[in-house]
Symmetry: D2
Subunit: 249 residues, 4 copies
């Protein structure tokens, strides 16, 4: 499976390094906003041994159309920004190139645009693309189904500088249909990211915990999704649709 | 649903108190080995306001057959001992009274006997009857299915006096098909009971944790199971068969 | 050391059971508001084998003065209410009977009254008398002294029904000089009590955690304090003054 | 305070980046075994804005004596290897340059050699130089002094690949005088490093936890120690002697 990556900030770099080391996916190119590192190769830049090209292009110097002509891919993985889709979306849809977006937030009209594109190609969007978080959400939903009266509280811990409430915690709250008041945000030191769903029963407590070790987790999530999208028909997909088939005996 | 309870030790008392307070199940009687508290009523003894009879009988003074004649029940809940089934099993099977056993360990031949009985009536057995533990086992199995390469370690914490490795931890290990070496047993002070399933991914960690608050959790588990057995056909059931229907969209 | 206990609610009973089982302290009597169980003995009532009298009196039927005449004690341990001190305080001070109060909150004027009494006898007060919590407070203060720039957040977890913010968490916040905003309160199911002090450094996190197993912890705290007060001069003492001598090489 | 750093592997680089960003310490140079990056400057290589020289030298091309002549320092910080001390130790001792070693293990004879050097200059050694771990050790020792009968268990979690038991856990066990059997080692996924000291009381549990976020924590520890060594007389120091003065009211 040939992939192109959009975005090459801290997360983009981590994702690229995981893609390069996975033998099921080949990183053809990276397309970024800045001119930095233009025309260098990701394997060389990151010091990873790999035969994959991973060439770095700047959006200012090449159009997505030309890029898809000279280095065609099966899927475009977007870690860039909430506006990026407007640059590459239609061209991908036209060519049936799959779209995998890991952008944490989109305005409503962009989500509408994604759904429009999904009439022609596979469009996947997850505001948090780690396997662990998406698993936890489904697992917690099932627990609530089994025991509808449990008290659920979400605790999210991040580094001191993180201003707003964790978007992931908000998604968990919405999926579990609990009030955002039940999200407790802890900001201390350099904590990378920790989400805990506390499920209180009268005489027992279940805790579902996710701890981030590093940004590379996004890369693994993207690969998991990409491989699961391989044989999908055009349409709009979210993480639950990818995971649910695994929740069966 | 009318229930009879076998066993009235610490756990039996806790279970009885939960049964008395649940309006879906009526505690008809308690049958115990000892003569202590004979002919008293559980609501009066435990100081719980309830109209349910909850009369205490001693196995030395009344046969299960007579007891089922004078105070018939739909289900017998067994928190007594691994031998108790031989006293009441056949009589229940004959009368199609359901059997719910929460005995933590049975010899193989007793399990065989349970299966024999299950030809005539509903027989359910769970070595750990808390909802939380059984939920965690299924949830962890699904996670292993999604991510077969994760490293799984089970940490179980109990009070200092507990000699052997937690039977529940062993069940978890067996269900997840991991080596018993991967169970880490912690014995310290008065910890009631804590089980943690650590699932290590390369760049993230998922922790599934169960903490016992008190023995009453067994009562809630028994009620959950009993209500789910209401319309079942004769057969041998375990907790997974009760929980799996909840794991569907 | 002979002790009298004030209060015989849930906590009072748990404390009494621990006192009876400790051979350094003899429980002479319990004085309570209600007439319930009057003239019975605590060992018999709780089913604990003990030679200690532990007689139960009602405050309506006997004055503290008469009680101290017929069954003198070295220390009075107060788990009753914030008003109780006005019934027994002066009589104890007159007789140099030590006072150990575990009342969680006193109005300012009552604290003033305690200090007045402490001119004549040893008066000790701790709003939370568990060893673990008081140790954690001092340990956290030292950590803040070592690393003044760490971010400190307090997470307290209790059963769903607990309305207000944990008084213990407020004491921790005050002692560490951090804003009460940094207390995160979690209410879920039947959690007995858990306090966590999260200390965030830029590249590491220290967590100091206290978990309550049962109310008996208050009894052990009371015994620890009582024994440490044995040779003290009259004066007003708090937990830090009892613990600090242990923090030395 | 002018410092020279020995070692420039993953940990050395992380330490260098923290030193560069601290205004109390100036990184004069880095001395390493390999020729890689020779004569480049650390600020430039790591992309950190700083006026500090931080020049990289190879031990093959310059003697420690020449280096101390041309770029004198107050302290040498050793993150290299257990043999490195034999290269620079005597020259530092002769010139009264302080020595701060963060080598995790030394053979007995090397410790003897360190003590020999400490007759002429300040020599500090810590097998784990993070502030958090060293604080936890002292805090746990005090808790054991307060409550000698508690049960202590050490749980250490690290990435799957780590073969042996955590050296830090062993140090904790030795300092608390508990059996190495009470260390439970968990190996799973990519866990950076987590140490938990579980202290079990009959009715409560205290948990002292240290979580590593990244290697930079070693840099902060080194700075803390270096500043605390500023006015010390020649002698052999360990972390406890640096921390103990903070444990006083």
């Amino acid at each position: 499976m040939k992939a192109g990556l959009l975005g090459f900030g801290k997360t983009g770099k981590a994702v690229a390094s995981v893609l390069l080391q996975d033998k099921n996916i080949c990183l053809e190119w990276v397309l970024r906003k800045s001119h930095k590192l233009e025309h260098r190769s990701v394997p060389e830049y990151l010091g990873i041994e790999s035969d994959e090209p991973g060439l770095i292009y700047s959006i200012a110097d090449i159009s997505i159309s030309t890029l898809l002509d000279i280095q065609p891919v099966d899927i475009v993985i977007d870690f860039a920004s909430s506006e990026a889709i407007y640059n590459y979306g239609e061209e991908c849809a036209k060519r049936k190139v799959k779209i995998l977006s890991a952008i944490s937030h989109y305005p409503d009209e962009t989500i509408q645009f994604l759904k429009e594109l999904s009439k022609s190609t596979v469009v996947f969007w997850a505001p948090n693309i780690t396997l662990g978080i998406n698993y936890l959400i489904i697992a917690a939903k099932y627990l609530k189904k089994i025991a509808p009266n449990i008290d659920i509280v979400i605790v999210e811990e991040h580094f001191k500088g993180k201003k707003e409430v964790s978007g992931t915690a908000k998604v968990i709250a919405r999926e579990l249909d609990i009030d955002e008041q039940e999200i407790k945000s802890i900001r201390a030191g350099g904590i990378i990211g920790r989400h805990e769903i506390i499920c209180g029963f009268p005489y027992q407590t279940v805790r579902l915990v996710h701890e981030s070790v590093s940004r590379e987790a996004f890369g693994n999530g993207a690969i998991f999704v990409a491989l699961n999208l391989a044989n999908k028909e055009p349409g709009f997909y979210q993480f639950q649709e990818i995971l649910l088939p695994y929740f069966s005996w």
